[in-house]
């Protein structure tokens, strides 16, 4: 089962290594990871996507909580939430495909963030399924470069799962 876990940590050097070491040291895999400062510059938030059975996830959340620099752990499996990730795709379509690519970008509410004589760079934000669908479509049009963020997540207000 895949879980999205947010971890509030002290914004200090070495903390990322402690968290990632916890996973690697136990043979657990991190599927995606995003880290950023919060509004409080002393605190960072990490959003980790990982997979495992209930016992593994229980160990992961307990071990995370045990780390001295970890302030709070939220497993979004237990909470109604929104998830977003972003992808940048640089694409070099044939002349006759250009209009189609732009149309597809529009359908996915993508934005053209750069365009040159040969390429477009399209930014798309959304949940995992949307990103995957978009990437799949673009594959037919000559993807030159590709960059994807990890997931970030946030609980919905007042909705219990």
């Amino acid at each position: 089962m895949r879980h999205t876990i947010s971890v509030l940590v002290e914004n200090k050097f070495g903390v990322l290594s402690r968290v990632s070491g916890l996973f690697s040291g136990r043979g657990y895999n991190i599927e995606s990871l995003s880290v950023g400062e919060t509004i409080d510059p002393q605190i960072s938030i990490m959003t980790i996507v990982t997979a495992g059975d209930d016992q593994i996830i229980e160990q992961i959340t307990k071990q995370l909580n045990k780390l001295i620099d970890v302030i709070k752990v939220i497993d979004f499996m237990e909470v109604a939430h929104v998830e977003r990730e972003m992808v940048l795709v640089k694409i070099a379509p044939r002349k006759e495909d250009k209009a189609e690519v732009l149309r597809l970008a529009e359908i996915f509410r993508g934005r053209i963030v750069d365009s040159g004589p040969k390429t477009f760079t399209i930014e798309v934000t959304g949940d995992e399924k949307k990103i995957e669908a978009f990437v799949e479509l673009m594959k037919g049009y000559g993807v030159k470069e590709f960059a994807r963020t990890g997931k970030v997540a946030m609980a919905r207000e007042g909705v219990k799962k």
Partner: protein
């Protein structure tokens, strides 16, 4: 007035109540050693290897309950501490290790004697720090001692770049430690404790399984009270020996791979297993799927990650063992003064039968020294009051089986990591912490050679440590496995031809060397050793090399599938048949 980083460090150590540091000097810690030169309140014990320093700090902590301290230089000095740190980490021992580091501006430059010790020790410390500014030093030391000694204790490392100890800063001692992300749970959940008490009151065949957590939290009194109140038999893990009196009628000794027959049988037939300050290590559970198959499991531990890590748990209690036991006792007493002593009677009788059926034993031989006999004699002649340290292997298991520990902090053994070479330096730490106690290291001829250089430390400090070398000329435990499971192919376990004359080694260092080669010499040698009060003694007991540790649960088997000495031949035949 500003102080140097080194002065601040020493001042901090004084405020933490540190009296002894185990250490080894080097280039980047010269400022600290220079400050220590005039220091009256703190004594540095110079070991002969950094691994020895950390094990000594560990032994000091185990014997005294205080935080042990080690101080080493950068690079190789620091990397030499890793085994000691990992050892303390596995056994939850509070130590603080100070390592020197190259000056901050050189960090990452592959400078001379540079090692990323914070990176290297990250997985084997409870926490570690790199101090970048002398102004942070006092707070860091305070936090390090706090983290090391609270919650589930463990080793903490502080890396000190040379410019930090040389630099100057105001000394401000933080009155409080406040780490917002570190708040160990001491009070167990009320509801869970109630559940636990109910299960205990209801159980017909309860077994208490006590671990190192009982000793760490100082809960021996509460444990004894609980066991006697509910009339429940108690087994101990290797780390828990001494947490409950080994001579008590309810004690079943150790369980697990080399545990007693009756302890393992009791666990496998119990209807309730009360795990107290344990982590259900694989050496204890054997095959997890068939561990305690009929029992509900109550698990009390301060570390939530221990719970449900290895075995299923019906009633988890996260909290300090001592507080939890007090609460459970209170609930049992006020609520149901159930006739536990009555319901427990049949169960205790059953355990009594198992005890009679297969007691912990060995065959005495009048021609050759049996290692168990040596341990038994040591027990007898020290009246069970010595602090026993062990190395790792057969010596450790025999010391666990044939010496009975009635009090906590009298048994110092590398449980989790299984570190050969632990016992002797740990004995040095223990003897420094408890100068009036009798400290004995039960060793093997393999293990003792892993830190034999510490003889110099023991001699120079006039420590009357007794080392009993159960000398069988082999890496005995590995040899035992080779005999039983690898068709007697003794690949690289024979040491005898390369072994030194241990008596001469002792004498060369200025210690006393004694030897016994016949059973009748064992007692006089021990008596002679016990007379020596001002230096260490090596007792070289030339023992039967064929002797094995029994009972034994083969790896991957359930703990009631034990093999015994007399069954050896039979089993072998069975195995051969199975192979055919």
């Amino acid at each position: 007035m500003k102080k140097s980083g080194a002065e601040i460090l020493i001042e901090c150590l004084k405020r933490e109540g540190v009296k002894h540091i185990f250490g080894y000097p080097g280039g980047v810690v010269l400022n600290i050693f220079d400050t220590l030169h005039d220091e009256k309140d703190i004594k540095l014990i110079l070991t002969r290897h950094e691994q020895g320093a950390v094990h000594a700090a560990d032994g000091y902590a185990r014997a005294s309950g205080k935080v042990g301290v080690a101080l080493v230089t950068s690079g190789p000095g620091a990397t030499n501490t890793v085994t000691g740190i990992a050892n303390a980490s596995m056994d939850s021992i509070p130590i603080v290790v100070f390592s020197g580091q190259v000056p901050t501006m050189l960090i990452g430059n592959d400078a001379f004697q540079e090692a990323d010790i914070v990176g290297i020790t990250r997985p084997c410390t409870k926490y570690n720090f790199l101090v970048k500014d002398a102004a942070d030093l006092a707070r860091t030391v305070r936090e390090a001692f706090y983290i090391a000694s609270t919650g589930r204790p463990g080793p903490v490392l502080i890396d000190l770049p040379k410019d930090v100890t040389a630099g100057k800063s105001e000394f401000i001692w933080p009155q409080q430690v406040n780490i917002r992300s570190y708040n160990p749970t001491y009070e167990g959940n009320k509801w869970a404790l109630k559940q636990a008490a109910d299960e205990i009151a209801r159980a017909k065949k309860p077994v208490i399984m006590a671990g190192g957590g009982v000793i760490i939290s100082g809960a021996s009194k509460e444990l004894k009270e609980l066991a006697e109140f509910v009339n429940a038999p108690v087994t101990m893990t290797l780390m828990g020996l001494g947490g409950f009196p080994g001579t008590n009628r309810l004690s079943m000794g150790m369980l697990g791979m080399h545990g007693t027959y009756y302890a393992n049988m009791a666990v496998q037939n119990a209807d309730l297993l009360i795990g107290i300050g344990v982590r259900f290590d694989d050496r204890v559970t054997g095959k997890v799927g068939s561990f305690a198959p009929h029992a509900k499991i109550i698990h009390i531990d301060i570390d939530p990650t221990s719970i449900r890590k290895n075995v299923r748990v019906d009633v988890p209690v996260v909290g300090d063992v001592k507080l939890a036991l007090r609460e459970i006792l209170k609930l049992l007493k006020e609520d149901a003064k159930k006739q536990r002593s009555e319901t427990g009677k049949a169960w205790l009788e059953q355990i009594g039968r198992w005890k009679k059926e297969r007691p912990l034993t060995y065959k005495y031989d009048k021609n050759i020294i049996k290692p168990e006999f040596v341990v038994e004699k040591i027990y007898e002649l020290t009246k069970g009051e010595a602090i026993i340290c062990t190395e790792v292997g057969q010596n450790q298991m025999w010391a666990a089986q044939f010496y009975k520990y009635d009090k906590p902090r009298k048994w110092l053994s590398s449980g989790g990591l299984g570190t050969m070479g632990y016992g002797f330096p740990a004995a040095i730490g223990a003897q420094i912490a408890c100068p009036n106690d009798l400290v004995i290291d039960i060793a093997g001829d393999g293990s003792i050679q892993m830190n034999i250089q510490e003889l110099a430390t023991a001699v120079i400090n006039k420590l009357p440590i007794k080392v009993a070398i159960l000398n069988n000329g082999y890496l005995g435990m590995v040899r035992q496995w080779q005999e039983l499971f690898f068709k007697e192919r003794y690949s690289h376990t024979h040491l005898e031809s390369g072994n030194p004359d241990f008596v001469k080694v002792a004498e060369a260092y200025g210690a006393v060397g004694l030897r016994a080669t016949k059973p009748e010499e064992v007692e006089p040698v021990i008596k002679e050793a016990l007379k020596v009060k001002n230096r260490p003694v090596f007792m070289d007991f030339v023992v039967d090399w064929k002797e094995k540790v029994y009972p034994m649960v083969p790896a991957g088997a359930s703990i009631d599938e034990m093999i015994f000495d007399e069954e050896k031949e039979e089993k072998k035949e069975k195995k051969l048949k199975a192979v055919k």
